[in-house]
C-alpha cells in the first residue's frame, strides 16, 4: 500500500470514523478543517515514526511538514530519502 493510502486509511479510521474515501481530500489542512487537534497531531507523529521508521525532530513539527496528507507524504519521502 502506498504511503498516501496508509495515511489516508489511518486518518479516516481514527479521526473521521468512516471508510468513505471521499470524506478526506489529501490536500485538506488538518488544522483548517478541524480534522485533528493538538493531541491528534501528536498521535500522527507517533504513527509515522513507527510506521515509516523515521524520527521527527522538534524543529520539524511545523504545518509545512505535517498539516495535510500531501505534506506528510512529501515529508516522509524527504526523511526516508
Amino acid at each position: 500500500m502506498s504511503v498516501e493510502q496508509t495515511l489516508r486509511d489511518y486518518i479516516l479510521e481514527n479521526y473521521l470514523f468512516t471508510d468513505d474515501q471521499s470524506e478526506l481530500n489529501s490536500a485538506d489542512s488538518f488544522m483548517g478543517k478541524g480534522i485533528l487537534d493538538s493531541t491528534g497531531i501528536m498521535e500522527i507523529i507517533f504513527f509515522i515514526e513507527e510506521q515509516f521508521n523515521i524520527k521527527v525532530e522538534d524543529e520539524e513539527m511545523v504545518p509545512e511538514n505535517l498539516d495535510s496528507v500531501n505534506n506528510l507524504v512529501a515529508f516522509i519521502a524527504k526523511k526516508s530519502g
Binding site: 479510521e13 479521526y15 473521521l16 470514523f17 468512516t18 488538518f30 488544522m31 478541524g34 485533528l36 487537534d37 493538538s38 493531541t39 491528534g40 497531531i41 501528536m42 522538534d58 524543529e59 513539527m61 511545523v62 504545518p63 505535517l66 498539516d67
Partner: protein, 502 residues
C-alpha cells in the same frame, strides 16, 4: 471607576499610533481599533440595539473580535462571545438561551451557513464584522462620523451587565456567568497590580478570548496600552515560538497543557527569546518539574502562577515570581480587593493547614448565572462565591489547591461535564448505558474515556458511536477512549462507581 470601554477610548486618543494587534503579518494601531469599535457600535445602534440587550459573537481572536467586544459596549449592549469550537446545536442553544437578537461573526465560521439557513424563521440578525469594517457601509446609514475619537459612548452604569461567558455546568448544561462592567474593571485593575504590565509589553496570545483567562489577558493589556500578538492555533507550538521571536514578545500566558506542548513538541532550548520578561500560568496545577524546566529555559522571565475561575471574572490569586521557589505548588495570595476563606462543611472558616472549600468575596464576583436562579443560589451565598475548589492556606496565608468537589473533567484548557457527553452517546440507538470519566494524560492532564453498555442483542460499532460524537461535538469534547462492557460497576443504591472505570 473607569470602565473598560472608556479606558480604551482614552488610550486610542492618547496613543493613536501605538500598535495594539499583530496578526498574520498585519499590524493595527489603537486608532485602527477604535475606528472598528465605532463602526460596530454604530451598526448595532442603527439596527436598533437597546441598552442591556445581548449580542452574540462567533469569531476567533482577531482585531475584529476586539472591535466587536468593545463596540457592543460602546453601543450599550451585553457581549456573549461563543466558543468557536462548538457545533451548531450547542451554539444555537446558547444564542436562544442568552436571548441575542444579533450574531456578530467573522463571516467564515463553518456553522454560520446553518444559522443563515435557519435565519428566515427567527429574529436573529447576522452581521459579518470583517465585511462591515472594510466596506465602511455604516457611515452613510445615519450621519457620517466625522471624528471617531469624539464618538459618544452610550452611558452605561458600573453595575450594568457587561458580558455573559458560558462555562460547562455540572448538570451538563452550560451556565451563563453574568459579569458586570464593574467586575471586569475591578479584576483588570487588580491583575495589573500583581503583574507588571506596561505600554512597552507585547503579549503572545494563544488562549481564546472567549474564555475568561484569554479575556483577562486581552483587557489587562489593552488597559496598559500594550500590544497583542495573536496566534489562533497551538497545534504547531514551534511556529508560536518562532512568532514570539520575530515579534519580540515580552509575555507569554498559558495553561498547563500549553506548557506541556511547548516542552514536548517545540525546541524551547534552541529558540532564543531575549525579549521575554513575563510568563503567566493558570488553569490548573502544573508539575513542579515542568515549572523548573521553564525557569531554566527562560531564566530571564518572571514566572507567575495564578488561580481563578470565570465566576470571579478571571483571577482570584497570584503567586509572585520571587515566592515561586519557597512556595512552589501554591497559587499564591488573593489579588487586590479579593477576600478569601477556606470553609468547612458547616460553612465556617477553617484554620490554616485544614482543607475546605475555597470561598471568595470581592468586586470581581459575578452577578450570577444568566436566568438560572437555582444554580446561582448554589454558589452565591451571603455575598460569598463558593468556588467548588478544595484547598487550604498555609501559616503565611498562601493558598494551595488540592482538587475540585464537583464532577468535572479538565482536559487542556477546557472543563467538560461528563453528563453532557453521556447524554449525547445515549442518543445513539442500541446503547443502554454510558459513563464518561476523565483518565490521566501526560499532555492534557485528563482525556475523556467513554464506557458503554449495549442493549440486549444490539450491535453498535465503535465507529458509529465515534462518528456520532464527531458530528455533534467539538474536537476537545471527543472521547479519546471508548470501551464496551457488559455492565457498569454500581453501588447497592445503583450509583455508578466511576472511580472503577478510570
Amino acid at each position: 471607576m473607569e470602565l473598560l470601554i472608556q479606558r480604551l477610548k482614552n488610550t486610542a486618543s492618547s496613543l493613536p499610533q501605538s500598535i495594539v494587534v499583530i496578526q498574520n503579518g498585519e499590524t493595527y494601531t489603537y486608532s485602527d481599533l477604535w475606528y472598528r469599535v465605532v463602526t460596530v457600535a454604530d451598526r448595532l445602534k442603527c439596527s436598533g440595539l437597546q441598552s442591556g440587550q445581548t449580542v452574540a459573537m462567533l469569531m476567533e481572536n482577531s482585531i475584529d473580535y476586539i472591535a466587536s467586544l468593545y463596540g457592543i459596549w460602546a453601543a450599550g449592549g451585553v457581549t456573549v462571545a461563543l466558543n468557536t469550537a462548538l457545533k451548531y446545536r450547542d451554539l444555537n442553544h446558547l444564542v436562544i438561551h442568552c436571548g441575542a437578537q444579533f450574531l456578530l461573526s467573522d463571516g467564515v465560521h463553518p456553522e454560520l451557513k446553518t444559522f443563515i439557513k435557519d435565519g428566515s424563521d427567527r429574529s436573529l440578525e447576522l452581521i459579518d464584522v470583517a465585511s462591515l469594517v472594510t466596506s465602511g457601509q455604516v457611515q452613510s446609514e445615519i450621519a457620517p462620523i466625522e471624528n471617531h475619537s469624539e464618538y459618544e459612548l452610550v452611558d452605561i452604569a458600573e453595575d450594568a451587565v457587561a458580558s455573559i461567558i458560558y462555562t460547562s455546568g455540572t448538570t451538563g448544561h452550560p451556565k451563563g456567568v453574568t459579569l458586570r462592567q464593574s467586575n471586569l474593571s475591578a479584576n483588570t485593575h487588580a491583575i495589573l497590580q500583581s503583574l507588571n504590565i506596561s505600554q512597552a509589553d507585547r503579549v503572545m496570545c494563544v488562549l481564546p478570548f472567549f474564555y475568561s483567562y484569554g479575556n483577562s489577558v486581552l483587557h489587562t493589556h489593552l488597559w496598559a496600552g500594550a500590544s497583542l500578538v495573536l496566534e489562533n492555533s497551538f497545534m504547531y507550538p514551534q511556529k508560536v515560538l518562532e512568532s514570539m521571536q520575530v515579534n519580540e514578545s515580552t509575555t507569554f500566558c498559558g495553561v498547563p497543557s500549553t506548557f506541556n506542548l511547548l516542552l514536548n513538541r517545540a525546541s524551547i532550548a534552541n529558540t532564543a527569546l531575549p525579549h521575554l520578561t513575563t510568563v503567566t500560568q493558570a488553569g490548573g496545577a502544573m508539575s513542579k518539574a515542568s515549572i523548573s524546566e521553564f525557569k531554566s529555559a527562560w531564566p530571564q522571565a518572571d514566572f507567575y502562577v495564578m488561580y481563578g475561575q470565570t465566576e470571579a471574572s478571571a483571577r482570584i490569586t497570584c503567586l509572585a515570581p520571587d515566592m515561586l521557589d519557597s512556595k512552589l505548588g501554591s497559587v499564591g495570595l488573593p489579588i487586590q480587593g479579593v477576600e478569601l476563606e477556606i470553609r468547612g462543611e458547616d460553612n465556617r472558616s477553617v484554620p490554616a493547614g485544614e482543607q475546605g472549600e475555597i470561598c471568595i468575596q470581592g468586586p470581581n464576583v459575578m452577578a450570577g448565572y444568566w436566568y438560572d436562579p437555582e444554580e446561582t443560589q448554589s454558589v452565591l451565598k451571603d455575598g460569598w462565591l463558593y468556588t467548588g475548589d478544595v484547598g487550604y492556606r498555609d501559616e503565611d496565608g498562601y493558598v494551595f489547591i488540592v482538587g475540585r468537589n464537583r464532577e468535572m473533567i479538565k482536559t487542556g484548557a477546557h472543563r467538560i461535564a461528563p453528563q453532557e457527553i453521556e447524554e449525547l452517546i445515549l442518543e445513539v440507538s442500541g446503547i443502554e448505558e454510558c459513563a464518561v470519566v476523565g483518565v490521566p494524560d501526560d499532555l492534557l492532564g485528563q482525556v475523556l474515556k467513554a464506557v458503554v453498555v449495549l442493549g440486549q442483542d444490539e450491535q453498535v460499532s465503535k465507529q458509529i458511536i465515534m462518528k456520532y460524537c464527531k458530528d455533534n461535538l467539538p474536537q476537545y469534547k471527543m472521547p479519546k477512549q471508548l470501551e464496551f462492557v457488559e455492565a457498569l460497576p454500581k453501588t447497592a443504591s445503583g450509583k455508578i462507581q466511576k472511580h472503577k472505570l478510570v
